[in-house]
């Protein structure tokens, strides 16, 4: 929990990792990609405030003690949701597998949620693995990388028939939150990995699943917003938005938050610190202190209330994941509730000056 000016914020970090990018884990023959990947992350890392920058070697692999301190002791986080990122084509043991994440469950099982993953290209074996993972970790969510390499394939679409088979089975198994990585990525050739139209189709066809678009499809935030306004079960994952823009590009951070508040709404936005690209502490403290600037360029955008921040920083995600929130910290949110598409709402409130 984070407390500031007498207000208490229940914090759910909906997007964190516990990765191993150490040199020993770079797959022989694929070192340039393994290094290229973590170097990319390290570039993002440096968009945070200078005093939070780490040495590259430390950045490659943190210890359980680092994680505990950065997230729970100093980081204000009440509950964290682990997203896995396999990348086994480049990392021998995987970059950040469910089993790596689960190492921390012994000690922090009551505050950590380990999400599963699947890749429809793995076929029946993948489906079996998903079933085992859900049985073992009681997963309520999965993280999907549609742009991940797999045996010569450089990506898939969530709307592929095989993906639907996995989504249907995941839903039967009790999964209700599907996090889709649509953001800064690796290998979109003409298969545009930023394209969110596949999420649009899946969200329509699986109305009881929640689809969290991670990094708000950042290079194509407009496509994401145009889609999200029509799909009530689509959510904005803010990892990379707060971490990468709030400090480095504050004016653009304000515009992005302003647009998201309008198109997606404060009940559909989820904080994600993306550890250990960045630590959560400065992101949470900064966001609680942050306000839409008063300059003329921002007058059309909504100001953030304390309630807005409480929902974004934790209460929305708590509802999606059924995390118990102490009564005095609760606020109503429409997150995880069935709603109608918002196109009409937009027409009503949008004016030339709106």
């Amino acid at each position: 929990m984070y407390e500031k000016d007498g207000e208490k914020y229940f914090i759910v970090d909906s997007h964190s990792h516990f990765w191993d990018a150490s040199r020993e884990n770079w797959k022989p023959g694929q070192e340039q990609y393994a290094k290229g990947w973590i170097d990319c992350f390290y570039g993002y890392h440096q968009l945070g405030p200078p005093e939070t920058h780490w040495d590259y070697e430390k950045y490659l692999k943190v210890s359980p003690e680092d994680f505990e301190r950065d997230m729970f002791v100093e980081g204000h986080v009440d509950h964290a949701i682990f997203q896995s990122t396999y990348l086994k084509e480049w990392y021998t043991e995987g970059f950040n597998t469910i089993d790596q994440n689960a190492q921390l469950l012994d000690k922090w099982g009551d505050r950590l949620i380990v999400n599963g993953r699947f890749d429809p290209r793995d076929g029946d074996a993948g489906l079996k693995q998903l079933e085992e993972d859900v049985a073992k970790y009681q997963c309520k969510g999965v993280k999907l990388y549609t742009a991940e390499w797999n045996n010569g394939s450089r990506g898939y679409k969530l709307s592929d028939p095989e993906a639907y088979r996995f989504l249907a089975r995941a839903q039967e198994l009790g999964i209700k939150n599907v996090h889709v990585h649509k953001g800064p990525t690796i290998w979109p050739l003409d298969k545009d990995a930023f394209d969110v139209s596949d999420v649009d189709h899946a969200a329509t066809d699986f109305p009881d699943l929640n689809f969290i678009v991670e990094h708000v499809g950042l290079p194509r935030i407009e496509d994401f917003c145009f889609m999200a306004v029509q799909e009530p079960n689509v959510y904005a994952g803010l990892s990379v938005v707060i971490g990468g823009l709030m400090h480095a590009r504050p004016k653009f951070f304000a515009k992005v938050i302003g647009e998201l508040m309008f198109w997606v709404g404060e009940d559909k936005m989820l904080f994600g610190g993306d550890y250990n690209i960045w630590v959560p502490k400065w992101q949470i403290e900064g966001f609680v202190d942050w306000q839409m600037p008063d300059d003329e360029a921002f007058t059309d955008y909504a100001k953030l209330t304390t309630a807005t921040k409480k929902k974004i920083l934790g209460l929305n995600a708590a509802k999606l994941y059924d995390i118990p929130v102490p009564a005095e910290l609760q606020l109503p949110t429409t997150a995880d509730e069935p709603m109608q598409p918002g196109e009409e709402l937009v027409k009503d409130v949008a004016g030339a000056q709106a």
């Binding site: 990947w37 298969k191 407009e222 990468g244 992005v256 030339a352």
Partner: protein, 233 residues
């Protein structure tokens, strides 16, 4: 046959033309010239007319389709400069540097370069992003009018010729011309993707979309600039 060596003053002029040609090459996603984005890492023009250009990008994993477009466009733009006998354009520090550099040098096209990994050439991709730029450009031009009190009714009848001249207007016209959309003085300022005028009732939402589009492109650009600065600090 060796091209005749260029006199120093003429070489300086040739250099100017090469730089200007590079300035016409856009990052299609960011809608900004590669020269403004600091993507040109090094360049030179030799007295015998060989222009050598090395490009760089914000990350090792920048999308290869856009990367290919920029290298190929730079190659074409520099090759077309009168006085340039040969252009050598390469991309540094990228996961697909070898493929892209080899493909552009051989003028193999995107499919020829990436084989089975590519199913289409990149014209459609380019058009998609020009359309985004043309939508964002409507916000750039219309926003000052809205700030001065223009109503949806006013905007519905505003033509490009009625808007005060500005670099943003010139740019909007260029994007539209490239797409074959109306760009003359009589063309409506606000148009849909197919070039038809936007009805009054739909103007508020249209403006919202145009602004979101501009925020999207510009934020992406800022992100890329931040990462480039970090990478080549």
């Amino acid at each position: 046959m060796t091209a005749p060596a260029t006199a120093p003053a003429d070489l300086e002029e040739l250099r100017g033309r090469v730089w200007a040609a590079l300035g016409t090459v856009l990052d299609p996603e960011l809608d900004e010239p590669i020269t403004d984005l600091d993507f040109v890492e090094a360049w030179s023009v030799s007295p015998d007319g060989v222009a050598t250009v090395r490009l760089r990008l914000p990350t090792f994993f920048c999308a290869p389709n856009f990367s290919f477009l920029m290298v190929a466009d730079a190659h074409d733009a520099v090759s077309d400069v009168p006085g340039v006998e040969r252009a050598v354009v390469t991309l540094a520090d990228h996961h697909a540097s070898d493929e892209i550099n080899g493909g552009v040098a051989a003028q193999a096209g995107f499919i020829g370069t990436f084989g089975d990994e590519a199913v289409a050439e990149l014209d459609e991709l380019r058009a998609t992003f020009l359309k985004k730029a043309a939508l964002a450009g409507q916000d750039s031009v219309a926003r000052p009018l809205v700030d001065r009190g223009a109503t949806p009714e006013d905007l519905a009848v505003t033509t490009l010729g009625a808007v005060p001249p500005s670099p943003e207007l010139d740019r909007l016209r260029r994007r539209r011309a490239a797409l074959g959309l109306p760009d003359g003085d009589g063309a409506p300022l606000l148009i849909t993707d197919d070039g038809s005028p936007v009805p009054v009732a739909k103007i508020p939402l249209h403006l919202r979309r145009a602004r979101l589009q501009r925020v999207g492109i510009e934020t992406n650009g800022e992100y890329c600039k931040s990462l480039l600065k970090t990478r080549y600090a």
